[in-house]
Amino acid sequence: MYRYDEFDERLVRERVAQFASQVERRLSGALTEEEFRPLRLKNGLYLQLHAYMLRIAVPYGTLHARQLRQLAHIADVYDRGYGHFTTRQNLQFNWPKLKDVPAILGLLADVEMHCIQTSGNCIRNVTADHFSGVAHDEFEDPRPIAELLRQWSSLHPEFEWLGRKFKIAVTGATQDRAVLKSHDVGVRIVRDPATQQVGYQILIGGGLGRTPMVGKVLREFLPREKLLSYLEAVLRVYNLEGRRDNKYKARIKILVHEIGIDAIRAKVEEEFAAIDSPRNDVDPQEFARIAAFFAPPAYESLPDVSRKLEQAQAADAELARFVEHNLFRHKQRGYTALTISLKPIGQAPGDATSHQMRVIADLAEKYSFDEARVTHMQNIVLPHVRLDDVPEIFAVLRAEGLGTPNVGLVTDILACPGLDYCALATARSIPVAQALAEHFADPAKQKEIGDFSIKISGCINACGHHHIGNIGILGLEKKGAESYQITIGGDPGENYALGELLGPGLPAELVPEAIDRVVAVYLSQREPGESFIEAYRRLGLAPFKAAFKEIADAVA
């Protein structure tokens, strides 16, 4: 993991003091509310429905035990004993008091953390594949460039007042687990087929929200030393040319859509040509310094298979289920990346209590080289676990309500905070997620359905990624009541797709039954080994729409 040096530390401390001064000057009237609001947002502080919300950056989702314990401490002292992990691999506290925020920021700085640019019209927290550095299908660990980008984008004087927020994701694996095509910019580490040189493919203009757009290739191959100067060109073109007349049309995806990928490429290349010089290249020594922090830990040499785990599985059906669904194949023989589901049946997706954070911290320290990852699916990964240790880890998790064996299954539901917390929401998300999880709670049923993703957003801004759920649920307000629009066929990965509407909106109580009908079509018509999304692609929308209509007609 990256560790701060004295300069990283000083910058974060100075930023804390700067924010304290901004709060003081707001209170004295030197800053108007209009001036203060973006400053507060750029420091992750939102005013929500019932209280302030503080969003803490977890750079590319990586945490160590001390950080987790500090978050637990903050949850206990300054919040209500829990936190919420978000789809941008961050952590949110829902009940902090404004007066406590500078103290919280100080505590975060003590463990090399901050809230810089977790909101506002600037470059947001860089996200990455949560299996970075450990995935079997990885070409190169993307965390060094994620950290490089974190530093470059932090307090960038030119890009603090963009037309709208700007999100960057990176991956170095074959399978896209970072949802690159939903980002303003996606960076994929690739090898140039011509020269065998390693560099980057750059995607641009993806996004969800009220106008979902699929990211397009801006550059097939960018030499590695050009990454920052090229992104500087992208951001400058966006800052100058992006729309400012309508905040709903201000993301770069709209600019790309309106002028076309070829025109934006020409503009970026022209700007890049002006910036490009050896002086602006990524410094190789600095890159090497950062990359050294991500060297693989001291793995033991182990056999591929763990007899110990096999025996334990044979004796414990729940452990067997956990192994089947919550482990991911590791680069290193005898190790696994273990996902802790924050989706126990009936709970708010992504929430963790301070006690659970401490439990995870202990496990990370003891079994995973002091490292944990937050996933954009709102779960936590222990990235370097010996297969031999899985039974012991599972025993602890089970005892703490963290052993739910549902990763990638129908109950592993992604949901935004919705109308229970959020000032923008038009409907609740959490109760819908809870009801669906209860409805599909039977482990045998979950296993039968297999890979299946439900994603729920409580408004059109799509924080719950509903466009790219196999089933997407969008909560709207219709004539004073909550109404849920359901889409089908979304896919965040290699076969990226936006979902299609199944029919008219439904009241919350009918959502589980409607999804039941959709699932029934799949179960009755699937071919051997075919997943839900594969069957959907083969069968098309029609049979699912027909089944859905029976429920929708009952309401009409």
């Binding site: 100075e14 030197a30 019209n121 004087p157 007042w161 602006n280 600095e286």
Partner: protein, 175 residues
Amino acid sequence: MLLLDRQGEKVDSFAHLQDGEKIAGKTPIVPLAALEAELAVQGGAPLGVLVENNVRTAELEPYFGTLALIAIRFPSAADGRGFSLARQLREHGFTGLLRASGPLFSDQFPQALACGFDEVEIPDASAARQPVEHWLAARNRITLAYQHEHGLGESILDLRRARTLEKNLNGAKNV
């Protein structure tokens, strides 16, 4: 209007046209639309121009040698196009004075300077809430920067390079 630069409040030797008229004893700042006409009658005397933040750098580039000042208008504090435009003008070789003109606030002062502005010109209402001391204090809150080329403060990359060099030197001494 309050005009300030790195040193603090500054006497303005330029003046925007008032009702289309120049102010005696001041170098005029004319709107871009009037630039060609003004140059025709100016006879080589110093001149400034006021531009909107959506002007193209290419449009101004032919005048770089003749303009003593370019003032970029900020229609609001949140509209950051002027920051990128300033960078672009500097990168394309403009070496005259660069002024940010509009309702910026003190926390944006170091950003404006880092992007290549020399000075900011703010409305009286902003100046009443944020006196010169606020603007100068804002410059010293963040003293270092990750951005090598145009950071807010000392370049962290340079600091790291110096640290490595020192380590290597110390290492060499010990041998």
